[in-house]
C-alpha cells in the first residue's frame, strides 16, 4: 500500500514503508526508473530515498491529488512487475584507514583498530540515497556492532574523501563540509565533480565495498 504526502506546493512524497529495508528500497528504485523512462504528465524530477520517493511536478499543469492517484496506480503496477533488474553498479573503494577517530571508535566499541577495519570492509553496502551535500551517498547498513551515535560536537571542517560512520550508516564526504560522523579513514577517489556527467560517483542502488590499502 503506497501512501502520498504533499511536499510544499510543487512536489509530493510517495511513502512505500516506514523502516529501512532493501526490499522496500528496491521497489522504490523500480518505480523511480519507470517514472524517469515514461514521465507522467507534469512530472519533472524524481528523488529516491530510504522509504520514500520525492516527485517534483508543475502544479500549474497537474493537480497534486489527481497526479498522486495516477502515480500510486503506476507505482503499484510497476511494483507487481518488479523483476529484480536494476542499473546497479559495483564499486570497490580503496581506503587508507588512518582516520582521526579510528582509535576512539575502537576503544568505545571495545575492539581493536584492525577489527573495526575488518568489520567495516566485510559488508557490501547499498547506496540508499544521495543528499546532505552534492554526491554524499548514504550507505547501509553498517554492521550493528559498529553502531555509534554521531559525535557530540560536530567538526567544522571534514576534509573531502573522509570515510565515516554514524548509526547504521557509512559514507564518504565528497566535499569539505562540517560533519558529525566518526572518521575512520580517507580515499583518494573524487566522489563529486561538477564537471563530470553524472557529477556524483555513486548512484542510488549501487553496491559498494571498502578495501584497506596502506
Amino acid at each position: 500500500m503506497i501512501r502520498w504526502l504533499p511536499l510544499g506546493d510543487s512536489a509530493l512524497t510517495l511513502v512505500f514503508g516506514d523502516a529501512i529495508d532493501p526490499l522496500v528500497h528496491g521497489r522504490i528504485l523500480a518505480v523511480a526508473r519507470r517514472f524517469r523512462e515514461q514521465p507522467p504528465r507534469g512530472v519533472s524530477e524524481v528523488v529516491p530515498a530510504y522509504t520514500t520517493l520525492g516527485v517534483w511536478f508543475n502544479p500549474l499543469e497537474r493537480n497534486a491529488a489527481d497526479l498522486a492517484s495516477e502515480l500510486v496506480e503506476i507505482a503499484e503496477e510497476a511494483d507487481g512487475r518488479a523483476d529484480g533488474q536494476t542499473d546497479s553498479r559495483e564499486f570497490v573503494i580503496p581506503v587508507h584507514y588512518d582516520g582521526p577517530d579510528l582509535d576512539e571508535v575502537a576503544s568505545r566499541l571495545g575492539i581493536t583498530r584492525d577489527e573495526v577495519i575488518r568489520r567495516h570492509t566485510a559488508t557490501t553496502y547499498r547506496v540508499y540515497l544521495l543528499g546532505f551535500v552534492p554526491g554524499f551517498a548514504f550507505l547501509g547498513l553498517l554492521d550493528p556492532s559498529l553502531e555509534l551515535p554521531r559525535r557530540s560536537s560536530p567538526r567544522l571542517k571534514v576534509p573531502a574523501g573522509s570515510v565515516a560512520i554514524a548509526g547504521r550508516q557509512t559514507a564518504v564526504y565528497p566535499l569539505d563540509t562540517p560533519g558529525g560522523w566518526h572518521l575512520l579513514g580517507r580515499t583518494d577517489l573524487t566522489f563529486f565533480d561538477p564537471r563530470r556527467n553524472p557529477p556524483a560517483l555513486l548512484g542510488v542502488g549501487d553496491a559498494v565495498r571498502f578495501e584497506a590499502i596502506s
Binding site: L5, G8, V47, W56, T177
Partner: protein, 310 residues
C-alpha cells in the same frame, strides 16, 4: 565585461537555480529572491533567467567596459551623478561606474543587458558556495574580478519601468504556509502556534537555512526518521524544537519532521526578512498556493510582454 571595483558583501552570481539533479544531492542554489531576479532581468532587457549579481548588507562599485543596459532591484544606486531608485531601466556607457548601495531589505540584485556570462554548470550559472562551484569560480566576488557579459541587448526602452510597475512583486504582505508532510506528528495546538506572531528570523540564518526563534515545537516523531526528500521552503523541526526553514543552498534530503512549507510564491518575500524580523505567517490551502503561483506566472508573462512590445 564588468569589473568589480569594490565587491559588495556576500556578492555572488545567481540565476533561477538548479533543478533535475536533486537525486545527485545537488541543491536548488539560485537567487534567494527569484521574483526580484526575474524583474531585474526583464527591466534590463534580458530573458527572465539570465545570471545577475546578488549582494547583501553593504555597498559596492562596478565599472563597465562597454555600453550596457542595467537594472537594480532592492537597493538605490548612484550613477552619472544621480541617485536612482530601484526598478528602472538604465544605460551606462563604457568606463562608467555604478555605486551599489546597502540593500533596502536583505538582498539586492543588479542585472546587466546580456546577463553575466559565466559558464553554465549543472544546468545553471548560479554559485553554490558550500560546494565551491558555479557562478564565478565557485566563490563570492572580490575586488578586481572581471566578469564577461552575453551579447548586449539592442532593443530597450527607459519607459519599461512605468509600464511594468503594476506587475512588480509586492514586498510587504504575509508569508503563506501550507501544511507540511509530517504535520500529523504535531498536535493541532502546536501547528496553530506557528501563526501566533511570536516567531522571529534568527541570527544564524544564511543561504542554506533560516532559523526561527521565539517558540519551540514538540512533536511525536521517533528519534530518527529515515531521511527523505525535502523542498526549499520546508519548515523542519529538529530535536531541540526550534524550526529551520530550508533555503536554496540547503540539503535535498533530511530526517526532521516538516510541520509546514512556505508557498513557492512567497519564498522571496521570506528570504528578504532581516534577522529579528517577525514573519507574518498565514495558513492557506493548496488551491490558494497554486492560485498565487498562477498569478505570479501571469505577472512574469505580462512583464515580459512589456519588454517585447515596448
Amino acid at each position: 565585461m564588468i569589473e568589480i571595483v569594490k565587491a559588495p558583501p556576500f556578492a555572488t552570481v545567481q540565476d533561477l537555480g538548479r533543478t533535475r539533479l536533486r537525486a545527485q544531492g545537488v541543491p536548488f542554489s539560485g537567487a534567494m529572491d527569484l521574483e526580484a531576479t526575474v524583474f531585474a532581468n526583464l527591466l534590463a532587457g534580458n530573458a527572465e533567467g539570465a545570471a545577475v549579481i546578488e549582494w547583501a548588507l553593504g555597498e559596492g562599485r562596478i565599472r563597465l567596459t562597454d555600453t550596457r543596459t542595467f537594472s537594480v532591484f532592492g537597493a538605490t544606486v548612484e550613477w552619472n551623478y544621480s541617485l536612482l531608485t530601484p526598478g528602472m531601466t538604465l544605460v551606462a556607457e563604457a568606463g562608467e561606474e555604478i555605486t551599489l548601495h546597502v540593500p533596502e531589505r536583505r538582498f539586492a540584485y543588479i542585472a546587466f543587458g546580456g546577463g553575466i556570462d559565466v559558464p553554465e554548470l549543472l544546468g545553471s550559472r548560479s554559485t553554490y558556495l558550500p560546494g565551491g562551484f558555479g557562478g564565478h569560480e565557485g566563490r563570492r566576488l572580490k575586488n578586481g574580478d572581471r566578469l564577461p557579459l552575453g551579447p548586449p541587448v539592442t532593443r530597450f526602452n527607459t519607459g519599461w519601468a512605468d509600464a511594468m510597475a503594476e506587475f512588480l512583486p509586492r514586498t510587504d504582505g504575509p508569508v503563506r504556509l501550507v501544511p507540511g508532510p509530517q504535520v500529523d506528528l504535531f498536535d493541532p495546538g502546536e501547528f496553530d502556534r506557528l501563526f501566533a506572531g511570536k516567531l522571529a528570523v534568527g541570527r544564524g540564518s544564511d543561504r542554506m537555512g533560516y532559523r526561527l526563534e521565539g517558540q519551540e515545537f514538540s512533536h511525536n516523531a521517533p528519534a530518527a526518521l529515515p531521511s527523505e526528500p525535502v523542498c526549499v521552503g520546508a519548515v523542519q523541526v529538529p530535536q531541540g524544537g526550534a524550526p529551520i526553514v530550508l533555503m536554496p543552498d540547503g540539503p535535498t534530503v533530511g530526517g526532521y519532521p516538516k510541520i509546514a512549507s512556505i508557498i513557492t510564491t512567497d519564498l522571496g518575500r521570506f528570504a528578504q526578512l532581516q534577522p529579528a524580523a517577525r514573519p507574518d505567517f498565514e495558513l492557506v490551502t493548496f488551491e490558494e498556493a497554486i492560485a498565487a503561483l498562477r498569478d505570479r506566472e501571469a505577472r512574469f508573462r505580462e512583464g515580459a510582454r512589456v519588454v517585447r512590445n515596448p
